[in-house]
Amino acid sequence: MDAQAVEQELKGSGAFSDGENMLLMDIEGGEYDVVLNSRDLLRNFSQICLELHSVPTSKHIEALPRRLNQTHTLIRIHANNWVLWPDYKSYTGRSGIKHELPDLLELTYVRNDTFSTKRMSKEKSPTPMDKKNIPNFREVEMGWWFQ
């Protein structure tokens, strides 16, 4: 997805004057382009909800959260259980391979001017609010993520 085109199009829609916008984004890997190549796009969104694809393999996996963290704060993380392999032991740490990452992550960010204080979340994904993306597959437990 062409980030500049998206930016131009969203600007052309007549918004972005007050910053009261929300972004929902699930574009199968194109989120890296949109986030990293846009200029003023992100600060116009008070809330961003996106799915991060190819987490273990993307070469931009470090750059994207760095960019978002400049203007926003992550308030929710959840691993999509639609993954190529059903062996989630590697994620839970029971197999000892704690450093592997889920393939798909669902993230919710809020802009830094929408709150006054923040502290590290004590919630461990999945929370009761989270729901399995694929009902027949096991949920990806992310307790180890917060250790």
Binding site: L24, D26, I27, V55, I61, P65, L74, R76, E106, T114
Partner: protein
């Protein structure tokens, strides 16, 4: 105007046991293929993984969260405080489930859909699509 829950695209399918059987078989086959492919899965070095985890630590900012969307879609957990003040929603990459777009449109928010794949017919006056669909039909060409 119909509510999102009444829209046929968001109807909950209650399959009969006979219909569920092939799906279970399909899931088993998929799991088998997935197990085989797990030998080829990519790995990431420990240092990078640790860094990514540090960059993706969630914070508690004192907002309440709400899950929006259909039962088939568990993706959208949002801050209700921020959502209240939102006037426009940009929905990039929508598949065959546009329940949340319709829901937000019914809450008097303008919804702009980009890259419409399947949910090609916005059925609320607050919804707009750019029509740059790469699959099927954009709503403004119907």
């Amino acid at each position: 105007m119909i509510s999102p829950a009444q829209h046929p695209k968001n109807a909950v399918n209650e399959d009969s046991p006979a219909e569920r059987q092939p799906r279970r078989l399909l899931v088993r086959v998929w799991k088998y293929i997935a197990a085989m492919s797990s030998r080829l899965r990519p790995t990431i070095d420990k240092k990078t993984a640790k860094l990514i985890k540090q960059l993706l630590v969630p914070f508690d900012v004192g907002h309440t969260k709400a899950k929006l969307g259909s039962d088939k879609d568990g993706r959208y957990v949002l801050s209700t405080e921020v959502l209240r003040s939102v006037k426009r929603v940009y929905s990039l990459g929508i598949t065959n489930d546009c329940y949340i777009d319709q829901l937000l449109a019914s809450q008097d928010k303008s919804v702009y859909q980009h890259d419409v794949n399947f949910c090609a017919t916005p059925n609320h006056p607050n919804m707009r699509s750019n029509g740059s669909s790469w699959m099927l039909r954009p709503w403004n060409k119907n």
